[in-house]
């Protein structure tokens, strides 16, 4: 293991779509991307795990409902229990919720249509593998692309999520202001991402891996992936 270059595993489930993009983004940000396969039971000694976007198992039944039973998820859960950083992006977020590693659930967008759009999100906490070193209130431009991204949670879960500062990102306007018109999918509390109480597992609907390369668009995802690499490195 070379010092200074954290190994970030990206799990490919059948139907994962943004797996190559996550690997490319990790490499662009200075990490080493390591492809992981759903049917394996080996995390190949990675320092962090990304569950990427896509439609694992076609999202048949419910988004993420089948992927959580994949053999590699046992290893991912054990890795997280040891404090390892795990990040779920879009479908990965849905899988983490289905696996019970994050609270809440993601249901069909309020407008009942898929939405692909660059949105502004506001950083809510610096206590997560994606936001370490970021200042709450900071606004980042990152794309969303999902049909089922409306965050909902049971009342008691929601109270914990809000009360314990587990919200990592909220959809907002360019100046960080919250409002229904900025809430791209109708999420409860404009929630775009959350973390677990331990602070090592995080999920979000926006795609930071699609906002790192200035040649193809805005770069609001860079600080998130830089944070993940630093978080992983600190544990190496």
């Amino acid at each position: 293991m070379s010092v200074g270059k954290p190994r970030v595993g990206v799990v490919t489930f059948p139907g994962s779509l943004d797996d190559r993009d996550a690997l490319r983004a990790v490499a662009l940000m200075g990490g080493e991307g390591v492809p992981l396969w759903h049917a394996d039971r080996d995390l190949l000694a990675v320092d962090a795990v990304i569950l990427p976007g896509g439609f694992s198992y076609g999202d048949y039944l419910r988004t993420g409902a089948l992927a959580r039973f994949a053999p590699i998820m046992d290893e991912v859960r054990a890795f997280a229990d040891r404090g390892g950083p795990v990040v779920g992006i879009c479908n990965g977020f849905q899988i983490l919720c289905e696996a019970g590693m994050l609270a809440g659930a993601l249901i069909r967008n309020r407008q009942l249509r898929f939405v692909c759009r660059f949105v502004d999100v506001r950083v809510e906490t610096s206590l997560s593998p994606l936001t370490e070193g970021l200042v709450p209130g900071e606004v980042l431009r990152i794309p969303v692309k999902h049909g089922e991204g409306q965050f909902v949670a049971r009342a008691d879960d929601l109270e914990r999520i809000e009360g314990d500062g587990l919200v990592t990102f909220r959809y907002c306007g360019p100046g960080g202001e919250l409002g229904d018109e900025h809430n791209v999918n109708g999420s409860t509390g404009s929630i775009a991402g959350i973390r677990n109480p331990q602070g090592n597992v995080a999920g979000l609907m926006p795609h930071p891996e699609h906002a790192v390369d200035p040649d193809v668009g805005p770069t609001g995802g860079q600080p998130l992936l830089a944070s993940l690499l630093a978080f992983a490195l600190a544990r190496v």
């Binding site: 139907g15 943004d18 896509g54 076609g58 939405v115 692909c116 759009r117 049909g147 795609h207």
Partner: protein
Amino acid sequence: MKVDQPLHRALGLTDEELDRIRATLGRAPNRSELAMYAVMWSEHCSYKSSKVHLRALPTAGPQVLVGPGQDAGAVDIGDGLAAVFKMESHSHPSAVEPYQGAATGVGGIVRDIVAMGARPVALLDPLRFGPLPEERNRFLFAGVVAGIGGYGNCIGVPTVGGEIHFAEPHSANPTVNVMCVGIAPTDRLVTTAREMPGGSPLVLIGAATGRDGIGGVSVLASRTIEDDAADTRPSVQIGDPFAEKLLIEACLELVEGGLLEGLQDLGGAGLACAVSESAARAGMGAELDLDAVPLREAGLEAFEILTSESQERMLAVVDPSRLQEVHAVCAKWGLSSAVVGTLAAGGRLTVLLGGEVVADVPARSLADEGPVYERPMQPPGGLHEILEDDPTFAPVDSDPADAFLAVLSSPNVASKRWAFEQYDQLVQGATVAGPGADAAVIRIEGTMKAMALSCDGKGRFGHLDPYLGAAHAVAEAARNVAVMGATPLAVTNCLNFGNPERPEVMWQFAESIRGMGDACRTLGTLVTGGNVSFYNESGGSAIWPTPIVGMLGLIDDYRLLVRPGFPAAGLLVYLVGETFPELGGSEFAEVVLGTVSGHPPALDLALEASLHRMLVEGARADLLASAHDCSDGGLAVALAESALAGDTGFAVSLPGDEPWYVALFSESASRAVVSVAPEKAEAMEALAAAHHLPLSRLGETGGPRIVFDSLLELTVEEARSAHEDAIPKLLAG
């Protein structure tokens, strides 16, 4: 479907075609054989009405690696890479069931690209519907867009463009085309046109075969859909994009591993088509064992297994020594793989079921020896009167500001964001420019190059003058990639027309091909293939002749690409090219004057080519701050769109001494709006002069307002509302 008629006619074959089959076989065909000939000799598969005309298109040139006749065309883009691309229609199924019709259209074209061994990297969807005020048109539009997104978003291929238009003749028959582009190392292109050792196993990969889509090509795509459309609904296939994603990955892994001798998509005409084409291309025959085909339900008859259009299936011709590896790759991706036959020496295609021969025909007779017709042609009556009724000289009593907003908010011109936002435009991380720009720009991994892609058709122009309409479609598609700085390289097409058995439709088709051929020759863009969709009509009323051109251009360094939006204040705004009094077939004439008539604008193809060269040179020299094609809605819309895209206003005066409505809305060809930094003005003027192109300095960018002299003035935000809100408002009913 009527049952009180002979079987061959019920299957769509004529009496003469039945005689021809008898002569080929030396006996009467049985039921299975008849079903195979019916689908393979259908208009959709055999191109029997279009073949004689398509030969006139320019298809051979140094950049073309694979021309028409394969699953998709391929052009050399340097660095040992090939761009593989093709367009297809799924209009007929979409008219019956919009979501699944559009979804399976995406699936089919993607498999065509995969069949060439290429990774699909972009999708574009040119669409035509009837006017949105009608509820059924809204239902079709919403369903088709949802189907494209529902399938495309799930397979990891970005949907990056495709234009959308609305016109009454497309009410009963929407036009749903889809183009896919892929990339492959040149030395790994899978083309099956070669002799292969006999005995190579044929492996059917992917979904099980069911009763869906039986005879889809002959029932839906090769006749007009009348009032009994509901009866044809079982002929629409149901898509499973998850299975498609696995199929893409498995097939590409097989190709990369060098395990295949050939690969073929199962689309229209199913197994009958894939096996007969695979065999015929190899100059061979095949033995096919239907008992080995994995079925979704027991009890399918031979003709059903042969012609089922169940989706998400591919047929691989495998090197016998690598068979176990092929099975292993498929198993890794959770896909079934079954040896369903072998290639055989000689030319016979022999089909077995339950140990008995159920069909025995020459493979070539199915794939290559279908009938070819030279159908009668005749210009439609009344065309002369429509052409002479030229709106250019009609009295105009509307207010310039009202006319401007009416054109900007016309559904043809208005923002299509409502649709594009339902498509994943970003997956694969290569989308440098997506929908909304003149062309989509996709960078090519491992290089600084990018492909620029545009789909264009000119409905009104084609209706008035099919020759000019098709030529304009090529010119506009090429201009759209050139304004972004890309050199137009090659085209694919989808030719959407009415019933070819009507001489008027056949005349429109022939004229369109002539126009397309002339334009492609002069602009140096060869045709690598495409698709013909006939029978787009109901009750004797056809769609407008709609040849859609899919253009592929190449940029050497995508960092030098030029975008349509005014990027800053203080730039000089120029019109390249000249505006003539040409309102025939224009958006203004339709929206403001309420007429689709007159002569479409003239087109000087040599001048058009000069414009493209100038634009590419201007981009390479980093002269252009922005560039945007002038087309639907004329100069007014081009300027407004540049302002909206860059969120920067402008103040201009109109060149020439034409009336305001001509200067604003004429759709004269070969024009572009560019903005240039003041210190580069001299270089810009020299560049235009070097290419013998007229250049007018119109004014400057800057401020929150759109200002045309003393003629009209509004804020960028007012224009944005008109442009953005038009389609959502119409959809709200």
